[in-house]
Amino acid sequence: MATEYVKYVDVTKCDGCRACMVACKNWNDLPAEPQDFLGTMQSHANVSADTWNVLTFVEHENSEGKLDYLFRHSSCYHCTDAACEKVCPENAISYTDFGTVVIDQDTCVGCGYCVQNCPFDVISLKTYKDKNGDEYRKAHKCTMCTDRLEEGLQPACVTTCHTEAMEFGEKEAMIKKAEKRVQEIKDRYPNANVYNPKGVGGTHTIYVLTEKPSVYGMPENPKVPTSAVLWKDYAQPIGKAMVGGVAMALAGAFVANKFFDKKNNQENRDGGGSHE
């Protein structure tokens, strides 16, 4: 297994410029999605099929009764145990050597199981029309620029970040860096923590947060849904085994039947078969 990489996001260094959002659209050729004013600085309410990362703006009253204005780069977390990968019935979602989770657009049938089961709500479906005018759907999300990683480049969002709020590096080094950074900012932010949830086996986007995850609108204890585990690790293998068994039996029956028939026919033609 190749080295696993992690995107490290230090929200204390983010200045909310949204260059990561634009860089993502620029690299992945995603169209703009004009939005109504949401009442805050935030441009989009959540990620979507054409907006793979969103900068969230949270106005939070801290323990001293003062206003904290919290910015966070929000996109796919690339879980180590990804619920989307587990539930995908077409095996269109897979892990790469870098630790990223990607959707194969050719295999995806747009069923939406991954959308429903993602604990972070980062996958969206997009509807397309084929040349006959029939609609079909595909699931989209951040790829962590896996195509760039394969060529030795860093993700577009990390490359463009000018405050070093985002960095990309080897997993262990980034986790160490995050822990060190939390110690540095503890005086200013007593609730500071590293977000690398264990319920999904850790993620490949880790955060240094100044407040509890829920303040940022993140799940405190995200888990792979039990139904997803049951489906992938138990129901599917059994189902497949049964399908295989049935197929073998059918094929066997077919072959046996055919040759038996031949034999009977030949015997009939020879006139050797008993008549009554």
Binding site: C17, R18, A19, M21, V22, A23, N26, W27, D106, D147, E150, E151, A156, T159, T160, C161, H162, A256, F259, F260, K262, K263
Partner: protein
Amino acid sequence: MVEINLNRRQFLKLTGATAATLAVVELGFNEKEVHATSKEFKIAKTNVTPTICAFCGVGCGILVHTDDKTVVYTEGDPDSPVNEGTLCSKGTTIRQVYTSEKRVTKPMYRAPGSDKWVEKDWDWMYKTISQRVKETRDKSFVVEENGIQVNKTEAIASLGGAALDNEETYLLAKMMRGLGVTYLEHQARI
């Protein structure tokens, strides 16, 4: 027990079919390889041209990736000491200066007092502009003011656009200074 009786013809047919299937599956066709080559890296064959961001005075370096037809991608120049490969949200959009559908690609003319833009050809535009500039400059040119040589005209103003790049603004400023234009402005606001 199932007894399989094969005559010679049936046996040959079966072995032939098996060999053909194996050949297709094992030898000739690697599905993964075909899939990989169908998606080429986006900037694998592009020409790279360095430029300076036009949007503000910081002067970030940008690499412009182009193919035969259009700008494919833009990214901060990692060799630039100003931005070291990074860009702000505005600089990241600079590709649209060329690719945007909203870009005006033909000369538009609005007559004095009119509220309508009319499309004109370049010849008409060049001729009219040069005629009017000459006319206005000749009429308003000031050689000396308070005993000091000034060689200026205050009847013409120039407003540069934020999407002009470094070289274009240089040429524009050079020409306007040559004409004696003092109201030389730029609309850049970050």
